[in-house]
Subunit: 401 residues, 2 copies
């Protein structure tokens, strides 16, 4: 049969790039292309203990239908931590548990936008979120950044020229893919522009806890006095991603609509793991665990950054981030990271070409993303060395485009 | 702040009814309004054992990101059972694991429909699915049924008059809320009409395993030789609902699109429980467990049907279904089940007025739905007796509208 698909499904695939990334599935390949947390960071032992006690003490409840808002105790504990850790949560705010941060973006889009509306994204931005926006027929407009985050004048230019802007999507802290953190000044400026042009902000903060040096910068949501910011958080990077557990904190009117949208999407998040996560937060200090995770990742980041300095040609620019999971590199002007990605795949090292994260993925770009949380220490050292050789060869053999 | 919500969010709430159903949250209320599986049917002990062994043997894998298609072993075992149990699965078919059957409806809608398209639903139908369709701006058209299921001439009349029909949504076996099962002849007729007018069929079969008497009727999907039927299955009623685990079997071109849509929705279903469900299917014979569940529910159904015969006035019509979770009753012509529902709530027994399940919920209707899987035996007997008294009083006091 031939099927006619929804218009919204167009442009959600970038098959050339998908094919390219398949190389990472080869177990012989050193994967710098992933974004997975390190498996050694999962509190497996603690979770196993809690799991056993849930089955013993409240198995039937944990396996039964729950409510779309999420398990009340997990909501309460998540709000408590948001308040203590980030100063988030005013009287008008509520919190819904979602099946991973990704669902927070999906639900925000679903309740707020009509087809043809505009969402502003940092350029480059996270492909999963961009595809969620595309899947609702939105127009994506990329806003330029520098090392301090979104350029306020660039944001204002878009907002002033496009009355259909519904929200700005931003990952202000350790942005994926660029690793950048927006300064407090810029955050304030961005919030002011949102007020002036009356659009909302969806603040995605999956990496906020993964800071290895420097000082925390206040989330935009903590500055929000009127309910303009939807804050999406995740337990994927501090507990484990396979359990698909995140949350959204926003004005109660927004959360009420999200609850309705979630009800028709998956009814509610896995009840057993909502209880498990709540129990974890009660029995353990998540921040102690986060300290351990930070140590692990700081070590891997230092290792990768050191190896890059040793093995990459000096023409390759990279900024070591203060946290997160990714290193963002740039080839000299005129070289194409897609070609580098092909070549490195042949040498059994996978990276992600930056154009995957560009609003317009057709443009040639010399940027590429490297992940340091997933590979082992040995793989980091060996892989960066191989990659350095591939880059040198590419720069030697080819003139810039 | 005042928010402007997406057009699609209109008409997804029926707040009067929501308020009415809140009575069921009162622990003193006997809830015949739910649709929850009986907690005593969950294989808690077996799941606890499997859970412990997963944490011990493959904890890191079970807590890590997985693929959007679902855990391969669970896909394979689900396909195997579909084939053996229902004769479903041709060469062109594939299977995706979803976070409960509800997500199967959501993804089907997302990949197939544009705003303003039409979906045909049995009238009455399952409110969760209808709201999923509404949430994509679809027009719902209800097709009439009798005790043998959808009336083919009614279906053809709609299809012939509306070129925007994208699919028919049907629960052919132990339909929610009516409890009806479509005959094989009708299933064949429905499939022929779908071919003639070139629309797809989304076949939702959460209750297919819950047959307490009579013979199985072949799913429409098993008759589908060309990939016209999307089959949505669920582990909610045979394992447990809180784990949010279901699957969709459909032509591989459809599944490929669903994988993309799922990626932006929740990335993948809870990895730990996908592995747990696969292990359950490997270690145990699900059909043995289903036999136990059937025994439990048959007993509760018999009990409720007997109590209704004893306590309800003879004017109340009900058909005892051969399976599923629900009994469907009708007050005499001119009486309103919404009013009955209010009165029974005051008497601490909750039922669901039929109009909740009608395409046009504003129409007065004397139908109401009763669930027998959730309440205890004692609650069934006591609740039906109370309800019988409330009905008698309502019929005595009030003339028909």
């Amino acid at each position: 049969m031939n099927y006619t698909f929804a218009d919204r499904m167009q442009g959600m695939e970038s098959s050339a790039i998908r094919e390219l990334l398949k190389v990472a599935q080869d177990p012989e390949v050193i994967a710098f292309s992933a974004g997975n947390p390190a498996p050694e960071s999962f509190p497996i032992h603690e979770m196993a203990e809690i799991s056993a006690s849930i089955f013993q003490e409240q198995g039937a409840k944990a396996l039964q239908y729950g409510i779309s808002e999420g398990y009340p105790e997990l909501r309460r504990l998540s709000e408590e931590r948001l308040k203590n850790r980030y100063g988030i949560g005013r009287d008008f705010d509520q919190l819904i548990i979602v099946s991973g941060g990704q669902q927070g973006m999906e639900l925000s889009t679903k309740i707020l936008t009509n087809e043809g509306d505009t969402v502003i994204c940092e350029n480059p931005s996270f492909i999963g979120s961009m595809n969620a926006f595309r899947s609702y027929g939105l127009k994506l407009r990329g806003v330029e950044m520098d090392e301090e985050g979104i350029l306020p004048e660039a944001l204002e230019a878009i907002a002033a020229s496009d009355p259909k802007v519904r929200f700005l999507y931003t990952i202000p802290t350790f942005q994926n893919p660029s690793g950048r953190t927006m300064t407090l000044e810029r955050r304030k400026a961005v919030l002011e522009i949102a007020k002036k042009y009356d659009f909302l902000i969806v603040e995605d903060n999956p990496y906020g806890d993964l800071r290895y040096e420097g000082e925390d910068v206040a989330p935009i949501k903590s500055l929000d006095e009127e309910g303009r910011v939807i804050y999406v958080g995740s337990y994927s990077k501090v507990l484990a991603p396979g359990i698909r557990m995140g949350f959204v904190s926003a004005h109660k009117d927004l959360i009420a609509k999200m609850v309705i949208a979630k009800q028709v999407s998956d009814v509610h998040t896995n009840q057993f793991f909502m209880i498990l996560a709540a129990e974890y937060l009660k029995r353990y200090n998540l921040d102690d665990h986060v300290q351990e995770v930070r140590k692990l990742y700081k070590h891997k980041l230092d290792l990768m950054a050191g190896a890059i300095r040793e093995h990459f040609p000096a023409e390759v620019i990279f900024h070591k981030p203060q946290g997160g999971l990714f290193l963002w590199c740039s080839l000299p002007e005129g070289y194409d990271a897609l070609e580098l990605c092909r070549r490195s795949g042949e040498a059994k090292v996978s990276i992600v070409p930056g154009r995957v994260f560009e609003i317009d993925a057709k443009l040639v770009s010399g940027t590429f993303r490297m992940n340091f949380s997933t590979p082992s220490e040995e793989a980091i050292q060996r892989g960066v060395k191989i990659l350095g050789g591939v880059i040198r060869k590419y720069l030697d053999e080819c003139r810039p485009l």
